[in-house]
Amino acid sequence: MTTAATDPLVRIRSMHFAFGPKVIYDGIDLDIVRGKITAILGPSGTGKTTLLRLIGGQWKPDAGTIEFDGINVHSLSRKPLFDLRKRMGLLFQSGALLTDLTVFENVAFPLREHTAFPESMIRDLVLMKLEAVGLRGAAKLYPSEISGGMARRVALARAIALEPDMIMYDEPFTGQDPISMGVLIRLIQGLNRSLNLTSVIVTHDVEDVMRIADYVYVLSGGKVLDHGTPAEVQQSKSDLVRQFLSGEADGPVSFHYKAARRYADDLMAGRE
């Protein structure tokens, strides 16, 4: 790779993306630094998951560029795009485990698809990955037999099976009890250090992610509202960012969804 180690791994420049008339991104610039944990925060419905799919090349931006390690993701044809994807893992919110395969076979899946390793080596690798997420004992179970938190850990083991450069987590903390949440946070942090990974965490769970993130982006309304270290972002000049981080109902973002009529008019309208 010709790019220097200090260059960001992912570089997004003036990227626009819309679903039909609904504008999701209105020209955002975003850098994901190598070896760090970058958190992308924002209210639900701001298209954070969309961002991960854009970086992974599943969707194409309407304008602007997304580079991964200096390569423009959307200029690639299918074959080199697939090669590039082997270097990034995406952890879906649901885990997206293959339900007809056991936990062991799920983690073995990318190895069997992309390598010609002998069976004994695949077995060793899978057991090592499962051990890293603490689920070696669950190797023989099917995805339907494990809890949601465990499924996410299995998906994590599968995502690191090919030893990617980067892992993207889509809402990893949603719907987790405090214990499995703690486990996941420690895992993400631990893996980032021990495997020298670059991590991207997309979430609206402010408190937990602020503890482990090295760098934070706050997105809303298709724009980057603010970015910086967690300490910097907490001192943000933007009212909206402060409202989001402290979780207050009133502020620039209104609790009420915009209605066509005033409340009183709406109630009276039913009497005619």
């Binding site: 697939f82 090669d83 994807r85 082997k86 990034m88 649901s94 485990l97 899946f109 990318p110 698809e113």
Partner: protein, 254 residues
């Protein structure tokens, strides 16, 4: 314009389905390089459909023998019962009924499975793991359907003509002579009949697999979408089978 829009919609759907078929065909060589994946699917669409095929084949053979005997015996032609059963089954009922059952049993399961894989992000998960779901998931299932249908139709025919179907009722129950039952079949049925049956079954298998994987792959990723995909697989396949059967029969008719 509004009057024609359903027509345009269905034409657009047909176009999409054709493009999808071309994508699958391009993925077939890769799938054939991993025969284990195809065999697994032949097992799940073929072997698991065996019971319904065997049971239905037997009953249809038995009913045909009962009804045929009542007519033939008036003309003193009861010994031709075998021919009546065998030709009806091999030329028409075998491939058509097998295909209808196959659409209900395997086609719907295929569409539901693929639709659910899509709804639970398993297909995009694969894509993000740099695995092409067309090659890994769709193509093996498509090939399996084409392999399984002629085999199932043959088993259906065997069950309904011999074993437990027409033979059981005609020979064992109604007392038609076993020798004439079989020798008349032997004389009246030609290789071409069996060839045509296998052609029909293969074409039906292709149509059902194509419809099922298309419906599943393009299902809306919701529970409603999956249920709609399953239903339309059965409805569209059934209509396609009956229409194709007419076309094929017209071509095979001398």
């Amino acid at each position: 314009m509004n009057v024609l829009s359903p027509l345009f919609d269905s034409l657009r759907g047909l176009g999409r389905a054709t493009l999808f078929l071309l994508t699958i065909l391009a993925g077939i060589p890769a799938a054939l390089l991993r025969p284990r994946l195809v065999f697994q699917q032949v097992y799940s669409v073929g072997v698991l459909s065996l019971i319904i095929i065997v049971v239905s084949g037997s009953f249809i053979g038995m009913v045909l023998a009962l009804q045929g005997y009542r007519t033939l015996v008036n003309f003193g032609a009861a010994s031709s019962l075998g021919v009546l059963v065998a030709l009806s089954i091999v030329r028409e009922l075998g491939p058509v009924v097998t295909a209808l059952l196959f659409a209900g049993r395997a086609g719907s399961a295929l569409a539901a499975e693929i639709g659910l894989m899509k709804a639970t992000d398993q297909l995009s998960g694969m894509e993000m793991m740099a695995v092409d779901p067309i090659k890994r998931v769709i193509a093996p299932r498509f090939i399996a359907g084409i392999i399984a249908m002629p085999l199932l139709a043959s088993i259906f025919a065997m069950m309904s003509i011999g074993v437990a179907g027409g033979h059981a009722v005609g020979v064992e129950l109604l007392g038609v002579d076993a020798g004439s039952y079989w020798s008349q079949i032997h004389q009246a049925m030609h290789g071409a009949d069996i060839r045509d049956m296998l052609i029909k079954a293969t074409v039906f298998g292709l149509a059902i697999s194509w419809i099922a994987v298309y419906q599943g792959y393009h299902a809306a990723p919701t529970s409603e979408g999956v249920s709609r995909a399953t239903t339309s697989t059965v409805v569209v396949s059934s209509l396609a089978i009956l229409a194709l059967d007419f076309v094929l029969t017209a071509f095979m008719f001398h």
